[in-house]
Amino acid sequence: MNRALRPLIATTLIFALAYVAAVLQYPSMLSTRVLGNFLTDNAFLGIAAVGMTFVIISGGIDLSVGAVIGFTTVLIATLIMWAGLHPFAAFAVALGVAALFGAVMGAAIHYLKVPSFIVTLAGMFLARGGASVLSPDSIGIKHEVYTAISRSYILLPGGGRLTVIGLVMLAVFAVGIILAHRTRFGSYVYALGGSETSAALMGVPVARTTVLVYTLSATLAGLAGIVFSLYTSAGYSLSALGVELDAIAAVVIGGTLLTGGYGFIAGTFIGVMLQGLVQTYIVFDGTLSSWWTKIVIGGLLFLFILLQRLVFSASSPKGKVFWKT
């Protein structure tokens, strides 16, 4: 068995065990309906988490994704409802704005030599502030395209519905896996996360890669915003509050090292699904309050960080330090 895949296998195993345990208690959870809802309800989180995985593998962090999602929903809502743009034109504008936003943040991180944490924090304030300046109130979106998209789905055997936004998330994960493991850009990102100096000495275009990674993350956050606006049919400046933390949690649970240079896009998918499972379980249970979601996710995060440390200290031959202090 490949040692490098151990964390991924551990995460998958824990998800499978948790799912089996949940099904034993509530047999109705084993249905394509529930699985379809997993995908639909967590589509925006999954899409944003793919971008976050790339950023974290490159050794950075992006705190602005939740704010970019919120900003995108408001931008789309104002473009469609006030400017009268066709939704697809509004989507294109939103993606363009998000990509530009990410590129500027990436450039600031590289050229100003500021920690990504602070730059994206400023980006988060800017995007949230910009969204509430555009419109402090929630704007409902009414358009035939929106109703058409929310009505179309693929019927799975067993009555489950694979919605358009669920499919978009699956497609983003597929593209993300190919991009990370099968392209030159993907190798550059891993190299950058391993060691920026070594990467630069090996001839990795550090500036371009850094800018592209944050552009990718912001663009995917923009796409997540589009999906979120399709999901809720509204634009609100405070929507997707704290999604950046959920996305980081999904990435960590998925086995990606926060120091960069090591991780899987596929693991992030399991991380997102595990969070969906926790939420669904709490809904099924009915007696547990929603705040348990936060405690359980925090506990899972802790468990997986601990697990990563144990797995890594066991599998590294000479006690090589994987966690920079």
Binding site: F117, I118, V119, L126, G129, V133, S289, I305, R309
Partner: protein, 334 residues
């Protein structure tokens, strides 16, 4: 402290920024500096800035120590919610307020200790180690309050949030005392030097004989303690504990205050009083935006513009540019 040293301190850009913000506030609102004496305490916009800025200032004091060790504590907002919730629930159950405050502060100490253990003994990156408590902490606070907003009428807790001592609001007094004690502790003993040593290079500090683990534990525990104090103030101010909103995003304001104060995020250089000045700059901006009649939404945009400006000014590129300018100016004959 020598006099020239004090003058150099007062000439720092942070004080210029604070003066500029206060000046703009004065232009927008001519009565800004007016202070009146009423019911045995001072009232006025400046006092209000100090009062509103106190919770973030207290967080910033703890955060400064953490950031000086090249760490960061994201959980302070959640710890505020926990301490407020603990105090409120205990008081409404009839526990004496002194005990409730003590237990709330110990809850903060325990939270800080937890972060410290994760960072030192498990060697987890500070951002991630404290992220755990940031995510779970608010849930724990809601567990304590059982999901509702617990209100109370206990005089001691309300006094912490809204009372006054020597004419000054209690939060200001607490923040000032804490700042003074913390500054004395780090500057009059070797503690500050040790913290800086750990921040610059943890292994080098260990080889130099500094018990970096103990020091890191101490620093994170102190940050948790500061967060607990801040949580008590916020709870006392609204006479209730709101697990969802108490201290929400305050960790970001505190980090911002520390950065504005000139503490290096790369560790090793820190100043507690300057972080407090940073917190006051943020609050003066908030107040300015409010009294100028702009909607509070502009707050975030202005805040981000200030961060960007500071980052550009602190960046190596700007330093190079200034260095080039000064050498060029020296070369040109006058």
């Amino acid at each position: 402290m020598r006099r020239s040293n004090l003058k150099a301190h007062l000439l720092r850009p942070q004080f210029a920024a604070l003066a500029a913000v206060l000046f703009i506030n004065w232009l927008l609102f001519p009565g800004f500096f007016a202070i009146t004496w009423q019911d045995g305490r001072f009232f006025g916009s400046v006092i209000d800035v100090l009062n509103r800025g106190a919770p973030v200032a207290i967080l910033a004091i703890g955060m400064t120590a953490v950031i000086a060790t090249r760490g960061v504590d994201l959980s302070v907002g959640a710890v505020m919610a926990i301490s407020g919730a603990v105090a409120a629930v205990m008081v409404s159950d009839g526990t004496p307020a002194v005990v409730a405050v003590a237990v709330a502060l110990s809850a903060g100490l325990v939270c800080g200790l937890w972060n410290g253990v994760l960072v030192t003994y498990l060697d987890i990156q500070p951002i991630i180690a404290t992220l755990v408590l940031m995510v779970a902490g608010r849930g724990l606070a809601q567990l304590v309050t059982e999901g509702s907003i617990v209100t109370f009428a206990d005089p001691l807790l309300i006094y912490i949030g809204t009372g006054s001592l020597l004419g000054l609001p209690m939060p200001v007094v607490i923040a000032a005392v804490l700042m003074l004690l913390a500054t004395l502790a780090v500057r009059r003993t070797a503690l500050g030097l040790l913290i800086e040593a750990v921040g610059v290079n943890r292994s080098a500090a260990r080889f130099a004989g500094i018990s970096s683990r103990l020091l890191l534990l101490l620093v994170y525990t102190f940050a948790g303690f500061c967060a607990a104090i801040s949580g008590l103030i916020v709870a006392g101010d609204i006479r209730g504990a709101d697990a969802n909103n108490a201290g929400l995003w305050m960790e970001l304001d505190a980090i911002l205050a520390v950065v504005i104060g000139g503490t290096s995020l790369l560790g090793g250089r820190f100043s507690i009083p300057m972080s407090v000045v940073g917190a006051l700059i943020i609050q003066a901006m908030n107040t300015g935006i409010l009294i100028s009649g702009f909607s509070p939404q502009f707050n975030l945009v202005v805040k981000s513009a200030v961060i960007i400006l500071i980052l550009v000014l602190q960046s190596p590129m700007a330093a190079q540019w200034i260095a080039r300018r000064t050498t060029a100016a020296e070369r040109t004959p006058r």
